[in-house]
Amino acid sequence: MNNLVEIRNLRVAFDGVPVLHGIDLDVAPGEALGLVGESGCGKSVTWLAALGLLPGKASVSGSVYLQGQDLTGAPRQALERVRGKRVAMIFQDPSSALNPVIRVGRQIIEALRLHRGLAGTAAKTEALRLMDLVGIPDARNRFNLYTHEFSGGQAQRLMIAMALAGEPDLLIADEPTTALDATIQAQILDLLITLRHEMSMATVFISHDLAAVAQVCERVCVMYAGKIVEEGPVAQLFDTPRHPYTQGLFDAIPSLSGPRRRLVPIPGTVPDPRHLPTGCAFEPRCARARTFCTQHRPELLPQPEGRQLACAYPVPVAQDAVQPEEEYQ
């Protein structure tokens, strides 16, 4: 088994309403994987479920293997050895994820003590090294400050320092730059890329920002209504998106260069998980949908060019476009 994480048929339901409909996902060691989708598509729930972080009312089925060890249904103690240590997670809002009444230095030391058993001077030296590593200027003098004395970008750097304390194999970054200003966002993306190479850890980057994902990741999964609808290498997906939803996401984003054009929004809204369409979940919003799509839910299937796709009538690639009769009846 070569993959770091293997998720198989992961399903989650809240109060009997399914929100995740069978996710299969692999993460290779050292790989940077992006998860893209709109709010409520299940991109965060996937990883919260995998790490056993969902509240009790959620029913989770399927399996999650971390280097052969099954995490689903694992006892709390086993999970606690994984969480924060081998798989670390950082969140969108750093100021609410850090403890406001404990000095930041102590928070980092706490993580070092829990995950690496460090104490005393060794812990402090390591904590300072981590603060330097994530680019906190003048770490020694700011070791004893509280979180409110740091700006949003620096609080996110502190979160990253704490996440690195356990020397994780996998860092899950859940919308890490969404709450930050553009210039600070660029700094944090840069930091994530550098750290991944220096520490040779895998990164899962959860974001709704396709462009940010493109800069950090090698492979992307696009999710819609609790399913992966398209998966493939970044360049392939961005050059020739084939799922109409992926294509729609690209068309909806205004561009910074080239002629100004009217945006092409995706009509309608994300379906209510309680009343999902019987066929493809994207069918009501899809311009390419046909009768077939209203009855059959497409499976995620491997394509000859290397990607996986869940669509019965995908967007044609250039050579397909030569046969317009078949495609546009």
């Binding site: 210039t183 660029a186 961005f238 205004p254 910074l256 100004r260 092409v264 929004p265």
Partner: protein, 327 residues
């Protein structure tokens, strides 16, 4: 003809104190901002958090009183906040907020929310008010059966449509939008951006569009003003600002927007964070983060100067050929 909206040298100062007994200190959130909005024109205001964009927006509406400078609408000075003249002016200048759920009243239906501005400004009788509610609902893409719904029964995009509809009820001449699409998902964001563009085009509205999302601003705005620490550092036509920015801060800002297919290495990544407005660096406020800063920037505040056609920038080197070569 005088412009629809004109602001001259606006200043807004907040008092803060450090700790309970600390000495109060003044933070100049907006520091000498002048701008003009013509009829049918969209002015984008961009900048990072703390740059004073929202404070500026509130002053343009007269919700916050300017401590220096003045706001003119159609050539007339802004009446005093709360006065009858101000109230009647507010029917013609409306605001659209970022968080629709916070801007809407959760306990009354969509139709009542939309009727409220007409009740307040005493426009029409009850029959014509309802007719107007239905007319505006359709024009922003809401269905009439949604009139009896409450805000929590609507999706985020629909709620923002209600907020926009409410702002349009009194047929304003000017809309001030403060981050109107930031809380929306990409696919819904495009719907609302198109809606704003259509409304602006069809009704000839003037619009001030405050946002940190440069892509949306470029798509929607005719002119753009870039703010840094309470001042406008560059202003010009949207196309010029984004294709040939003159101020180093604008250059960094434009370059920091992630674009697929462009490597991170080719971007200008600014060092450091925006400084605290309470502790403004001397000289050019941007010099500690600027890669082109020279001695003059450390002690002399740059004047706003012309930098190309209809462009002005507050940088000692703006408009110089040498800067373009460096960039």
């Amino acid at each position: 003809m005088s412009p629809l909206l004109e602001a001259r040298d606006l200043v807004r100062i907040y008092q803060t104190r450090r700790g309970l007994l600390g000495r109060p200190s003044n933070v100049r959130a907006v520091d000498g901002v002048s701008l003009k909005v013509r009829r049918g024109e969209t002015l984008g205001v961009v900048g990072e958090s703390g740059s004073g964009k929202s404070s500026l927006g509130r002053m343009l509406l007269g919700i916050d009183t300017a401590q220096g400078g003045a706001v003119y609408t159609n050539g007339k000075a802004m009446p005093v906040f709360g006065s009858p003249e101000w109230r009647s002016l507010r029917a013609r200048i409306q605001m659209i907020y970022q968080d629709p759920l916070a801007a809407l009243d959760r306990r009354i239906s969509v139709a009542e929310q939309l009727r409220e501005p007409l009740d307040i400004h005493r426009i029409g009788d009850s029959e014509s008010r309802m007719a107007r509610v239905h007319e505006v609902m359709l024009s922003v893409g809401l269905r009439l059966d949604q009139a009896d719904k409450f805000p929590h029964e609507l999706s985020g995009g629909q709620r923002q449509r209600v907020v926009i509809a409410r702002a349009l009820m009194t047929e304003p001449e000017l809309l001030v939008c403060d981050e109107p699409v930031s809380a929306l998902d990409v696919s819904i964001q495009a719907q609302v951006v198109n809606l704003l563009a259509d409304l602006q085009h069809d009704r000839g509205l003037g619009m001030v569009f405050i946002s940190h999302d440069l892509k949306v601003v470029r798509n929607l705005c005719d002119r753009v003003a870039v703010m840094y620490l309470g001042r406008i550092v560059e202003e010009g036509p949207a196309d010029t600002i984004f294709s040939d920015p003159q101020h180093p801060y604008t250059q960094a800002l434009v370059s920091s927007v992630p674009q697929p297919g462009r490597a991170l290495k080719s971007r200008i990544i600014l060092q450091g964070e925006p400084p605290n407005p309470g502790n403004r660096p001397p000289g050019c406020a941007f010099h500690p983060r600027c890669h082109k800063a020279e001695d003059i920037c450390r002690h002399t505040v740059p004047e706003t100067r012309s930098a190309g056609v209809e462009c002005r920038a507050a940088c000692h080197f703006a408009g110089h050929a040498s800067l373009r070569e460096l960039a």
